[in-house]
Amino acid sequence: MRTFRSSRGPRLLAAAAVASLLVAACGGGASPAPTTPISPTSGPTTALPSGEPSASPAGGYSGPEAKISYAIWGDPAELKSQQAIVDAFKAANPKIDVDVTVSDWDAYWDKLQTGLAGGAAPDVFAMDGPLFPDYQSRDVLLDLEPMIDRDGYDLGQLADQGVADFTAADGGQYALPRDLNTVVLYYNKTMFDAAGLPYPDETWDWAKLVEVGKKLTKDVDGDGTVDQWGFYTETTDMENYWSSLVWQNGGDIVSADRTKTLLGTPEAAGGIQFLQDLIWKEKIMADPALFVETGDAFEQGKAAMESNGSWLVPTHTAAAGDLGFEFGIAPLPKGPAGRFTSVNPTGAVVYKGTKSPDAAWEFVKYLASPAAQEQLMKLKASLPVSKEVLAGPYATSFEGARVLADSLAYAKLKPSFAGYNEFTTILQGELDANVFLDPKKTAAQALADVVPQLDAILAGQ
């Protein structure tokens, strides 16, 4: 999701891609043909001899030579990082060639769907947690459970939420997680120091956020309008803040069986109401429209605190360097029902129609291995999923990394259910127009207006 939300440029390019994918949709069959004859010989391919759960540098693959394609969304830095991982994999597994392709967020899904429809999907591709049920339920993903059992692969070495998000209702395991993102409170140390205020810490709650936020909201240049805000977040997706607020207030977004929404409850409304109040009542956050074109207010040095995802560490670091401020990372403030944050894993899934399932599985395992995870970690754009890396090298890799790693202990999975896109389009359309951008309705009123539509979408899946 980070490409989708954090930068507008790549997203815009997708418009052009729409046209080309329509052509591609008609084209169909031009898949990169594997050089080797169609592989999967019946019967088990050589089992991994070791108790070593992750792909050993020596390589556990002894099937025929294979060429697999691996599709991801992301920016050039992520492509570079993933390419380094792929190169290391190829060095360890000379019989498997991996071809990486990258797209921006919107184009990625458009291409993927047309590829799947035309039977020419990538062998391995990145999967966003919330969208997983829409693909899994349509029977296009390979269940990895048989290979996990065959190899005795220990899922316990990976972050629990990351594994759980890709376990389907039928009990199958359709992905290994590749990385995770959680939501934390960033704060501008320079602004706190200038105001003589102590930094946010784990004792903070909603009231404290508002109290300190007010002290940091001011008219710095004295022209009569506020130009520094105490707080900033993105309101256009539940992940950046408001889903955590709902949980912190004792509510939830959908029922455990994913058949109806729980947004009609006073607890859910209270969480969303808190965000509306930060903007329009307490006024410690700017009207979201003010930053919709120019981007993150925190990165422009115009907000003292921000609730947002771990994917922003690289750009925050760059912005802080450019503007000459320092920032820190704290847990999200507690709500009436306790401390919660959101975690969203990205998984690596295998296309059910792949010609090289064993090679694909070998690669998926490698992506989750400590070696690959330590490479991924260097980007600082997400958390590793390997518990060993999380607790060890990652937690000390930069200031605040431990806060991110520790946040998994109180993180809930970003809601994930079939019909997610349609559900959030209707829901956010209402919240953006009538709650956040313009307080025409209270959160409770707006939610009451859309809950029947949301329930109908869930019922229609």
Binding site: L12, A15, C26, D287
Partner: protein, 309 residues
């Protein structure tokens, strides 16, 4: 427009030396063949297929299920579809006349043998050939609520800053403004060609009869420009109903809300985001029928107001 004048030309089509009309027709078909074959395979085929798809429930990934007219029945009750219809209608009703009036005014102004006319024409045509993505990015900055050029401009006139694309009231007008600016070039070029095809003698004769500037425009320019007006009108109408890229790049926050969702965006959203290709196909047939009916009415109307020389 040569096409129209040719059609209305009195008398039979002059024969070419050395060949009967039949031979000429054969050549005509031969030259048309690449386009016709392309249209048949790449356009007509998919259009017909879309109708079949519109009668199914299809998520692209699994085989379609036959549902008859269910998708069409559901569309009528879909609030977002009706909103998209309303927005597209509003966009068309405002942008088509506005775009044509502005283009006509510009063409008239540019038709006076100004020096460097070629450069000016190029300048007006540049936005047409610029990608909607780049144009959208620039206009997003123009419309930025804090520090955007437009707010600074109206600030000079003492008006309060607006949120433009983030404001449900201004969102569609803002998108219309950008599209009209972007599409102006095409109409200007066509109008200029039309204006230059009007023989100077008509103006001379009108002047001799004592016609002033306005009368010359009313009685000579406008009637003789009606073929161009007709042609640009049909282009503008059809493309207005297909408005997508401008909404895709400019709608805030992130994706179109009730204020900005249009029919083609609705189709894209359902087909590619909501796994409802059958539903999207039904919506595109509704769009097709609307455009077809309006085009038919428009063509029928030409007898009343279009004058070919």
């Amino acid at each position: 427009m040569t096409v129209f004048r040719r059609r209305a030309a009195p008398g039979p089509v002059p024969r070419r030396r050395g060949g009967p009309v039949a031979a000429e027709a054969r050549w005509a078909w031969l030259f048309l063949a690449p386009t016709l074959i392309g249209l048949a395979i790449l356009s007509a085929g998919p259009i017909l297929a879309t109708f079949g798809i519109s009668l199914t429930k299809w998520d692209l990934l699994r085989p379609p299920d036959w549902v008859g007219l269910e998708n069409y029945a559901a569309l009528v009750q879909d609030k977002r579809f009706l909103v998209a219809l309303r927005n597209t209608g509003f966009y068309t009703v405002v942008s088509v006349p506005l775009g044509m009036a502005l283009a006509l005014g510009l063409a008239l102004a540019l038709n006076h043998g100004i020096r460097g006319i070629a450069w000016i024409r190029t300048a007006y045509f540049l936005p047409v050939v610029t990608s909607a993505t780049a144009v959208g990015l620039v206009w997003a900055w123009i419309y930025a609520p804090s520090g955007g050029i437009l707010n600074q401009l109206i600030g000079l006139a003492g008006l309060p800053p607006q949120k433009w694309v983030s404001d449900p009231f201004w969102a569609m007008p803002a998108i219309i403004m950008m599209s009209v600016w972007q599409g102006l070039g095409t109409s200007v070029i066509i109008f200029l060609a039309g204006l230059q095809a009007i023989p100077q003698e008509y103006y001379d004769a009108a002047s001799v009869d004592g016609a002033g500037r306005w009368a010359r425009f009313r009685s000579v320019t406008l009637p003789l420009l009606t073929p161009s007006l007709f042609f640009t009108g049909i282009l503008a109408l059809i493309s207005a109903f297909q408005i997508f890229d401008q909404v895709y790049v400019l709608a805030r926050p992130g994706k179109p809300t009730e204020a900005t969702v249009t029919l083609v965006y609705f189709i894209y959203e359902n087909g590619f985001k909501n796994f409802k290709m059958g539903y999207a196909a039904a919506a595109s047939w509704v769009l097709f029928l609307i455009v077809a009916v309006l085009t038919l009415i428009y063509f029928r109307s030409q007898r009343r107001w279009v004058h070919y020389q």
